[in-house]
C-alpha cells in the first residue's frame, strides 16, 4: 500500500497515518468519533475497544485523502505510549481542553516530543477542544484563544478551537491537515506501507493449517 497513490492522472488518492495526542479526558476520542461517525456521546468512557478508525475526505473533485486514525487506547495516561504509536505518523492532532489550562502545557510537551522524535515532515495541528462549554459560559474559559494561537504560530502548527459535541470546526480541522499534507510527492510512508508490498501475508495457508491443528 504505497502512497500517495494515483489511480489515474486526474484522480489523486493518498493515505496518511494520523495520531492523536494530549492529556487524558480532553476529548481526543470524541473528536475522532465526531469526524468519523458524526456522533457524540456525553458520557463516553475512556477509550476502550477501538484501535484505529479510518475516514476519507474529498478535498476536491479529483483529490481524495484517507486518514488512518490511531487512538492512544489510554496508554498516554501514565506516560506509557509506545514509540510504535507515532512512528511513521504523517500527521498529528494534539488536543487540549480550553477549560483546563494545564492541558495546554501537556499539549506543548507533546508537540515538543513530536518535533524531536517523529517524522521530519509531520503535520501537526493543535486543537483546543470543548468550545461548546465556553460558548455557553465564557467564564469557564481557561486558555485564551490569542495565547494558544500565538503559541501555535510560533511552533508552526495548524490551530483550531473545536467542539466535538457541536461539531464546530471539527471537519475544518481535518480538512486543513489534508490540505497541508504533501499529496504530490512520495513523502514519508503512510499508514501501513512500511513493507512496501514486501511483507509476508500470514493469512496465506493459515486456514488450511488450522484445520489440522488440535491445540
Amino acid at each position: 500500500m504505497s502512497h500517495p497513490r494515483a489511480s489515474t492522472q486526474s484522480q489523486r488518492f493518498a493515505q496518511f497515518k494520523l495520531v492523536l495526542l494530549g492529556e487524558s479526558a480532553v476529548g481526543k476520542s470524541s473528536l475522532v468519533l465526531r469526524f468519523v461517525k458524526d456522533q457524540f456521546d456525553d458520557y463516553r468512557e475512556s477509550t476502550i475497544g477501538a484501535a484505529f478508525l479510518t475516514q476519507t475526505i474529498a478535498l476536491d473533485e479529483t483529490t481524495t485523502v484517507k486518514f488512518e486514525i490511531w487512538d492512544t487506547a489510554g496508554q498516554e495516561r501514565y506516560k506509557s505510549l509506545a514509540p510504535m504509536y507515532y512512528r511513521n505518523a504523517n500527521c498529528a492532532v494534539v488536543v487540549y481542553d480550553i477549560t483546563q489550562s494545564s492541558s495546554l502545557d501537556k499539549a506543548k510537551a507533546w508537540v515538543k516530543e513530536l518535533q524531536r522524535q517523529a517524522n521530519e515532515n509531520i503535520v501537526i495541528a493543535l486543537a483546543g477542544n470543548k468550545l461548546d462549554i465556553v460558548t455557553g459560559d465564557p467564564s469557564k474559559r481557561a486558555v485564551e484563544t490569542v495565547e494558544a494561537e500565538a503559541y501555535a504560530k510560533e511552533a508552526g502548527l495548524l490551530f483550531f478551537e473545536t467542539s466535538a459535541k457541536t461539531a464546530q470546526n471539527v471537519k475544518d480541522l481535518f480538512t486543513a491537515i489534508a490540505k497541508k499534507l504533501p499529496l504530490d510527492q512520495p513523502g514519508p510512508r503512510g499508514a501501513r506501507p512500511g513493507a512496501g508490498g514486501r511483507g509476508v501475508d500470514l493469512k496465506g495457508g493459515m486456514a488450511a493449517q488450522q484445520q489440522g491443528c488440535n491445540c
Binding site: 477501538a50 484501535a51 501514565y78 510504535m84 489550562s101 501501513r192 512500511g194 513493507a195 500470514l202 493459515m206
Partner: protein, 519 residues
C-alpha cells in the same frame, strides 16, 4: 484525572513479549489488567533499543546511569513544580482581572552526564531512532506458534513481517544453505553423495508425516520409545548428516537430544520444513522495526481491551494475605511517585524482578555480541538477512554458535549498516574470558582477533538465564522464564501457554479478533 483502580484481576510486572502476550490475552477475556515496568521502554529483555539507549546501556558507567536517573527525576520534579506554580499564578491573575499575564520563564534543566553515541550513528534523537536493536535477537518460525498467535489476535493488522533471506549452516568454514526439500538435498554440498538417497527418504518422511495416518509412519520407528539417535540410524543417516539436521533444522544447540525420544526432534524438524515452505528462502520471518514491535503491539492490543500500562514503575513489594496468597502489589505511582498499593489476586512477572531471591534459579549463562557492521556477511550470497549456525563439532565445542544478520531492509538500522548478533552458551564460566567463546562467530563476520572497522561496534553482554523455582499455584505469583538461547520464540510461546494454564487452570484458547478498521 482518572486514576488507577483499587483492584485488578491480574497485575503483570514487566513488558517482555511473554508478559505482553499474556496481558493481551487476559485483557481480551475481559479481565482488568494492570501492567507495570521499571524501564522507560516496552519489552524488557525482548525490547529493541535505539542507538542512544544502546549507548547508555553498554557504554555508560553505572555512575553515569545513576546520575541520569537522578537528572530525569529532577526534571520531572521541576516540571511538576513549575506547572503547579503556573496554575496558581494564572488563577490569581484571572481572579485579579490582570490581562497582561504571561507564563514565567522556566528554570534551566540539568545537563546530561553520559556521552552521546559517535556521530556516525546519528547526532539527534530522530537519527538515533532509526536504530531498533533487538536485545534478544530471535526470529519467528513462519509456521510457528507465535506466528499463529499474531494472526489470531489480529496483531498482524498493525505489524509488517518480512521473510528472512537465508538459513545457513557452516561446514569446514563454509556456510551453505540448509536443504529442506528432496530437490535441495540432491544439490546441497552439505549432503555427501553417499547420503543423498537417505536424506531424500528422510525429508520425504518429514513432509508426509501425519500423526493419525500410520501409512505415513516409518516402519520400525516409534517416536516415543526410540531415541533420536536410533531414528537417525533407522534412516541410515551418518553422523554429519544427522548433526546438521539436529542443529540446523531441529535447532538443538547441543547433543543431549540424541538420547531422548525422537518425537520432539521430529516435530521440530517438521516445524522447520513447514516454515520453510511458507515463504521460501528460510523458515524465519522478522518484524519491520525489530522485535520490540511485538511487545509494543501486544501492549497496544491489551490497552485497546482496557488494560492499563505504567512504565517507569518499579515493583516494590508483593503483599500477601493470611493464607499466603497474593493480595496486592506496592509501587510508586507512575506520575505522582507516591507510594501506591493496588489489590490483586494474581501477579505475573518476569524473572528479572526477582534477582537474588529464592524464587528463581539459574539455568545457564549465554554470551552475546551485537555487532554493528558496514558490510554484508561473507558466504551468504550478500543476503540482507540470514541465520547462520556453526555446529559445535566444527569448533570443538559442546554448544553451537548462532549468528543472525539483519540490515536496513528491516528498518532496524540506517542504510549501509548491518546488525549481526553472535551468541552461544558459556561453557567455561571460570575462564575469565567468556567473550573468547564467540571467536569462531567473529571470524565468520570478518571480526576475528578483535578486528573492527572504523565505524563498527560490538556490544557484548553476558546474560544469566533463569526459571521459576515454583509453578506459582501456591501463592499466585507466576514467574516467566528467561528468553533462552534458541534462535526462535517457540519456547517463549510454550511458556505463555504454560503460565496461562497455571493461572487459569485450563488450556489457552486464543479468541480470534477479526475486526477491521471501522469506516
Amino acid at each position: 484525572m482518572e486514576d488507577l483502580n483499587e483492584e485488578y484481576d491480574v497485575v503483570v510486572v514487566g513488558t517482555g513479549l511473554t508478559e505482553c502476550i499474556l496481558s493481551g490475552v487476559f485483557g481480551s477475556e475481559g479481565k482488568k489488567v494492570l501492567n507495570i515496568d521499571a524501564n522507560s521502554y516496552y519489552g524488557g529483555e525482548s525490547a529493541s533499543l535505539n542507538m542512544f539507549d544502546m549507548w547508555k546501556k553498554f557504554r555508560w558507567s553505572d555512575e553515569e546511569r545513576r546520575k541520569e536517573e537522578e537528572r530525569k527525576k529532577e526534571i520531572e520534579q521541576l516540571e511538576n513544580d513549575e506547572r503547579e506554580a503556573e496554575d496558581k499564578r494564572r488563577a490569581a491573575a484571572k481572579e485579579a482581572g490582570d490581562e497582561s499575564y504571561k507564563p514565567a520563564p522556566k528554570a534551566p534543566r540539568p545537563e546530561q552526564v553520559g556521552p552521546n553515541p559517535p556521530e556516525v550513528f546519528g547526532t539527534d534523537a530522530r537519527a538515533w531512532n532509526q536504530w531498533h536493536i533487538s536485545l534478544t535477537p530471535k526470529f519467528l518460525m513462519a509456521d510457528g506458534e507465535l506466528t499463529r498467535i499474531l494472526h489470531q489476535t489480529g496483531v498482524t493488522q498493525y505489524i509488517d513481517l518480512l521473510s528472512v533471506h537465508g538459513s545457513f549452516v557452516v561446514k569446514k568454514g563454509v556456510p551453505s544453505r540448509v536443504p529442506s526439500t528432496r530437490v535441495e538435498a540432491v544439490k546441497s554440498p552439505l549432503v555427501s553423495t553417499m547420503q543423498k538417497y537417505y536424506m531424500q527418504n528422510f525429508l520425504q518422511f518429514i513432509a508426509s508425516y501425519k500423526e493419525d495416518d500410520p501409512s505415513t509412519h516409518k516402519k520400525g520407528l516409534d517416536l516415543d520409545t526410540n531415541t533420536m539417535r536410533e531414528a537417525y540410524e533407522i534412516f541410515g543417516l551418518d553422523s554429519w548428516t544427522s548433526e546438521f539436521i539436529g542443529h540446523a533444522m531441529a535447532l538443538y544447540a547441543e547433543d543431549s537430544y540424541l538420547d531422548r525420544p525422537a518425537r520432539e526432534p521430529i516435530e521440530r524438524i517438521i516445524l522447520y520444513v513447514k516454515s520453510m515452505a511458507r515463504f521460501g528462502n528460510s523458515p524465519y520471518i522478522f518484524p519491520l522495526y525489530g522485535l520490540g514491535e511485538l511487545p509494543e503491539r501486544f501492549s497496544f492490543l491489551s490497552a485497546v481491551y482496557g488494560g492499563t500500562y505504567a512504565l517507569n514503575t518499579p515493583l516494590q513489594e508483593i503483599l500477601y494475605d493470611d493464607a499466603g496468597k497474593v493480595s496486592g502489589v506496592r509501587f510508586p505511582h507512575p506520575i505522582t511517585k507516591k507510594d501506591t498499593v493496588v489489590k490483586t489476586k494474581k501477579v505475573i512477572a518476569d524473572p528479572t524482578y526477582f534477582l537474588g531471591t529464592e524464587r528463581i534459579r539459574p539455568v545457564g549463562k549465554l554470551v552475546r555480541a551485537i555487532c554493528v557492521l558496514q558490510h554484508p556477511v561473507d558466504g551468504t550470497d550478500g543476503a540482507e538477512s540470514a541465520q547462520i549456525i556453526i555446529p559445535a563439532s566444527q569448533m570443538g565445542r559442546k554448544n553451537d554458535i548462532y549468528i543472525s544478520v539483519l540490515s536496513s531492509v528491516f528498518n532496524v538500522c540506517p542504510k549501509g549498516f548491518y546488525l549481526a548478533s553472535v551468541s552461544t552458551m558459556i561453557e567455561n564460566p571460570d575462564s575469565g574470558n567468556p567473550h573468547a567463546e564467540l571467536e569462531p562467530g567473529f571470524e565468520r563476520l570478518g571480526l576475528g582477533a578483535g578486528q573492527l572497522g572504523a565505524s563498527e561496534e560490538k556490544f557484548i553482554q553476558e546474560v544469566d538465564l533463569y526459571e521459576p523455582v515454583e509453578d506459582g499455584t501456591r501463592d499466585n505469583v507466576f514467574i516467566s522464564r528467561s528468553y533462552d538461547s534458541t534462535t526462535h520464540f517457540e519456547t517463549c510461546t510454550d511458556d505463555v501457554k504454560d503460565i496461562y494454564k497455571r493461572v487459569e487452570g485450563k488450556g489457552l484458547v486464543i479468541k480470534e479478533r477479526k475486526d477491521k478498521a471501522e469506516e
